[in-house]
């Protein structure tokens, strides 16, 4: 029998179903051959090893940002700075990949750590402003995204740009810096291992350590945390540092795993998508894996769709918005839960 405690799971499933249905409806409106397009959207991502590989490759950055945002959201901090940090740390790692000469083992480690540390430091700024003066972290982090983008473009254009490249792009990375492929027939790289380690560590951190406990209590009720003796300002700061570190590592891993030059001329969008990943995962680190894979699946589907049919991939951002609206909708399908509760209460009475 369905019970009220399974409600959250059922609701998430319902949201995903509704969104897929909506996708189909929209495709039917804009596509010349809707059935074929839907087929491409659903089947192509799993049609071959290399396409399935694309899904996993796409999921790696989403897992990083999803994990970073889960930590922040769990603390009730709506900081979307992962977007700018992901971009900027990737640039920092690129600089290290271009200019350092190290062996094939150390080089990526140094570049990734450097990217991560820079990410942590940048993230610390809105964290500090929030902890110390309660400056709205949502606004400051978004402003930081724009600033990091401006500064990043400046560095790219004036310091790292390879004039001989076809488009605005940096010099080529040293081959020693690039991450190894780990599954033949795909471009899945060692970043997958790194992100899974981060996620498991994130899980233990959040649910088993005293720092994670501080994080959860600060998020659940900051006044209660203060009253219990938790220094919430410090918690806000270190969680921001940690989230920045993860986002920064994510950006570095992405650029070293998937590219041979730095060539982003716009913010890549992973930070914003991370918000959706975190929400779908209910801010639970382990669940980030599943929700990132799901999101990657529909995005690769959309990519394939734009490549092989007449529907552009931006369709998916509309769908993502709908998922986010419904998943964070407290009352969505609540009437149904209430009915179950009424029934259960009657049975117990």
């Amino acid at each position: 029998m369905l019970k009220s405690k399974h409600f959250e799971l059922i609701r998430t499933a319902a949201v995903l179903l509704i969104s897929l249905l909506l996708t189909f409806i929209m495709i039917s409106f804009v596509s010349g051959s809707p059935l074929q397009t839907i087929g491409i959207f659903l089947y192509e991502p799993i049609s071959s090893v290399s396409h399935a590989g694309n899904v996993v490759e796409m999921a790696i950055p989403l897992m990083f940002t999803g994990l970073a945002l889960s930590l922040l959201f769990k603390m009730n901090m709506f900081n979307l700075g992962a977007e700018g940090i992901f971009y900027f740390s990737a640039l920092v790692a690129s600089a290290a990949a271009i200019h350092f000469s190290l062996n094939g083992f150390l080089h990526p480690i140094v570049a990734i750590l450097l990217g991560g540390i820079v990410g942590a430091l940048i993230s610390g700024i809105p964290g500090f402003l929030k902890a110390k003066w309660n400056a709205n972290e949502l606004v400051t982090s978004l402003m930081f995204n724009s600033i990091l983008y401006g500064v990043g473009q400046y560095i790219l254009n004036y310091k790292l740009r390879d004039a001989s490249a076809f488009q605005t792009a940096s010099f080529k990375f040293e081959p020693t810096a690039v991450l190894d492929r780990i599954i033949p027939g795909t471009r899945i790289h060692t970043g997958l291992i790194i992100v899974l380690v981060c996620i498991v560590a994130g899980h233990y951190f959040m649910y088993k350590t005293k720092w994670g406990y501080e994080l959860r209590m600060t998020g659940a009720n900051r006044e209660f945390a203060e009253y219990s003796g938790i220094k919430t300002g410090r918690v806000i700061l270190y969680v921001h540092l940690l989230a920045g570190l993860i986002a920064g590592i994510g950006g570095s891993v992405e650029v070293l795993g998937m590219y041979s030059r730095f060539q982003w001329n716009a913010l890549p969008g992973y930070g914003m998508d991370g918000a959706l990943v975190a929400m779908l995962a209910k801010n639970n680190p382990l669940a980030v894996i599943g929700s990132a894979l799901f999101l990657a699946y529909i995005r690769v589907g959309a990519d394939m769709m734009s490549r092989y049919s007449d529907v552009p991939s931006e369709l998916i951002s509309i769908i993502q918005a709908v998922i986010l609206l419904l998943v964070s909708a407290d009352q969505f399908l609540k009437f149904w839960k209430n009915r179950m509760l009424l029934k259960e209460a009657k049975m117990n009475a």
Binding site: A220, N221, L342
Partner: protein
Amino acid sequence: MRETLLEMCNITKVYSNGVVANQKVNFSLAEGEIHAVAGENGAGKSTLMKMMFGMEEPSEGEIYLRGSRIRLQSPMDAIRLGIGMVHQHFMLVPSFTVAENMVLGMEPKKGVFLNQAEAARLTREFSFRYNLQVDPEEKVENLSVGMKQKVEILKALVRGARILILDEPTAVLTPQETEELFGQLKLMRENGHTIVFISHKLKEVKAICDRITIMRNGRTEGVFDIREVTEQEISRLMVGRDVVLKYAKSGREYGESVLQVRDLGYSKEGKKVLGGINLSIREGEILGIAGVEGNGQAQLVEALTGRLEGDSGTVQVAGANISRFDIGEIRGLGVSYIPEDRMRQGTAKEASIVDNLISTVYNSKAWTRWGFQKRKKMAELTEEKIREFQIKASGPAQEIGMLSGGNMQKVVVARESSTAPRLLIAEQPTRGVDVGAAQLIHRKLLELKEEGCAILLISADLNEILELSDTLAVMYEGDMAACFERPSELTEEELGLYMLGIKKQDEQSIRRAMHA
């Protein structure tokens, strides 16, 4: 028997969190009576009244007004049918004037604009007619509690209320203000108004009401003519047993002084809030502080818990000056604190019972190793506390927000008492909890006292404070107005005189009684 005005039949209400607040409740109101609804906290009185006022809709059941069925989907429906309500927590907009509050939702207009003059005139007219003096131009945030209540009553009357629901109106009033209110209620009854009076103060119910409906556990236990039922009978029906608020206490042997407050003064925006407080509590002593809310008790507690630094004076706990300590450091000295508001400070409602129970010790060596928490040990402690405090819960992992108020408060008390505190600050420890939980909490406080803990008890429940305190102080306008060494010999009426500032002991005898 007067004509039946309003009838609620077979009302059941289940909240979305699964709490069953009312089960097949029946309630009937006769024209022109003052009808008491009595019951413990959590008995379902407020829920029933919210449904009568359209703030909640019954899950099942019907409501009839003058014999015809009505559906109340919003307070507006209720207001339109002549039902008004004065809530326990005032429903006023602080930055608005009295007149603006009065006309909110029924604004008089001049063209498309608000007609301020008409709003003031209307306020004066009703103020005069019902002998409830208020100043229409004054901002509500500047009014006393008693005045705010008058504004609330006027608000309902201006809207044409014939039935007036008063939700524990005397809880925030002094005995004298209560007298005044009763006079006004009788005047309203003479003018043909019908009044529902929610209370658990039986003396007041006896004094003013015509009939009484008693509720317990979300059900009606009976309806009586007030002259045909004794206080003992009412209380037996309310709690299912006679209320015994008598505890055996040990003799008076106190240890050394744990808390010492000297000349603690504090003012805010030029207004005196604390006027040089002196007090001292010794090991094994319960010092009660009585007083009408808003006379500096809250600020005193804030100063003791590291949230407020006084302008002058010192606070010492176990010999250490804590004026620059934060709450973590103060807890480190062996201080525990049961906060007034368990939802705001006392618990994190989405977190589990375990997480709520260990929040003050999570950082200590006994509970962590290399930063990892000993979750298993924590769960065991929680199970033990659930048994010891008879907390009704499915297990340590249950969200605390799913528990009833009483059980939630038990978790708070369990947490604060489990660290063998030297000083316990208990602020309204049994507010809004059922009698069973209250008794358990009282016994726990006495147990701690036996073990040598010094306890500062701040409570608006006079019964509680008179019974538990070894020494009883009264605060009035930021000063100690009186101090008694044998509180159980005092009556509530006597205490009221000090609480209202009508009587005041001289400085010397207060200091002597405080050992300060």
